[in-house]
Symmetry: C2
Subunit: 197 residues, 2 copies
C-alpha cells in the first residue's frame, strides 16, 4: 500500500528542500553562477544526499525547469476545466503576465533565461525548454480555435511573440509602463485580422 521507491525519492524532504532552494537561487541569480555548495548549504542538506537524489547539477537544473512547467500546466488546466470562455482565459493569462512582471523579484522567464546559458539545442535542459514551449504554443492554438479565430496556428505564433516580449520587457524595461499596454496589444493581435496580401 506504500508508494513505490521512486515515489519515495520524489517526496523526500531533503530533495524537496534542495529543489525549493535551487529554484529560488537559480531564478534570482542564474544557473552557472549558483554552485552546488551554496544550494546544499542553504537547503541544509549534505553533499552526499544531494548526489544521492540528483546524478549531476544539470539534472537539478532540468528538475527545476520541469517543476515550473508542471506548475504552470496545472494552473492552466484548472482554468480550462472550470469551463471559462476561451477568450477570457487568454485575457486572464496576459493579465497575469503583466501582474507578475511588475511584482518584486521578477527576473524574466526561467526557460528563456536558462536557454541563454545552455546553447546546445541537444542538451537535456534545452529539450525541457522546447517541451514547455511546444505546450505553450499548443495551448494558445487550442484556445484560439475554441474562440473562433480564423487562423489559430498563425495567431498562436503571434501570441507567443507577445508573451515573450512582455516577459523580457517586464524584466529589462519599466514593467509599470508596460502593464497598461498589454491588453491593447493583445486586442490588436486578436481582432486585427490581416487582409490577404
Amino acid at each position: 500500500m506504500t508508494a513505490p521507491a521512486s515515489e519515495h525519492r520524489r517526496q523526500s524532504p531533503a530533495r524537496r528542500r534542495v529543489l525549493d532552494t535551487a529554484a529560488a537561487l537559480f531564478y534570482a541569480e542564474g544557473l552557472h553562477t549558483v554552485g552546488i555548495d551554496r544550494i546544499i548549504a542553504q537547503a541544509g542538506v549534505a553533499k552526499a544526499t544531494f548526489y544521492h537524489h540528483f546524478p549531476a547539477k544539470d539534472e537539478l537544473v532540468r528538475a527545476y525547469l520541469d517543476e515550473e512547467y508542471q506548475r504552470q500546466r496545472a494552473a492552466i488546466e484548472a482554468m480550462r476545466t472550470a469551463s471559462i470562455e476561451p477568450r477570457q482565459i487568454l485575457l486572464a493569462i496576459f493579465e497575469y503576465l503583466g501582474k507578475t512582471g511588475a511584482s518584486a523579484g521578477f527576473r524574466g522567464c526561467p526557460f528563456t533565461n536558462a536557454a541563454a546559458e545552455y546553447p546546445d539545442p541537444a542538451h537535456p535542459v534545452r529539450r525541457t525548454i522546447a517541451e514547455y514551449r511546444r505546450w505553450s504554443h499548443t495551448l494558445f492554438r487550442d484556445l484560439l480555435a475554441d474562440a473562433g479565430d480564423p487562423d489559430p496556428e498563425r495567431t498562436a505564433t503571434i501570441l507567443m511573440m507577445l508573451r515573450d516580449g512582455i516577459v523580457v520587457g517586464s524584466d529589462l524595461d519599466d514593467p509599470n509602463a508596460l502593464r497598461p499596454v498589454i491588453r491593447d496589444a493583445l486586442i490588436r493581435v486578436l481582432d486585427g485580422q490581416t487582409p490577404p496580401t
Copy 2:
C-alpha cells in the same frame, strides 16, 4: 598629428583581435562559460596584454555589448539619412529580424542573453543593456511619429514586445515557421488601433 593615447589603445590590433574573438565566443556559448584563457588563446594574445587593455572580464563583456550596440545604431542611422519612408524602415527592420533569426548560428539577442547572466540591474553590463533598449524604444517611437501613428509611445512599446518575441522565438522555436508570420504580426500592431475602452 598622431592620435591620442586612448585612441592608440582602442585601435590596437591585439585589442581588436580579443574583441572579435570574445564576441564570437560570448555570443555562441554564453558569458560565464567562456573563460579569459580561451579567449586569449584563440585570439593569440598574451594574458598581460589582455589585462593591459581591459581592467577585468566584465569590462570586456561591456565592450562586447557596446560594440554591438554601436553597430546596430550605425546601420539604422544610415537608413534614416537615406531618407527612406519611416514605415518602410520599420518593415525593413522586422524583415531583417526574421532573416537573421533564420540564419545559421543565430542564438538570440546578445543583450537579453547577457541580462540572463547578469541579474543585478546596477551592474555596468546591465546599464549598457538598458541604454541599448532605451535607444531601441526611442527609435521605434520616432519612426512611428513620423509615420503618423496616433500614439507612438504606446505602439513603440508594443513593437518592442514584438521584436523581443521574434528574437526569442527564432532562437527557441522553428525560425522558418516564424518568418512568414512576422509581417502579419507587424501589420496587426501598426494598423489595428484599439478603440478606447
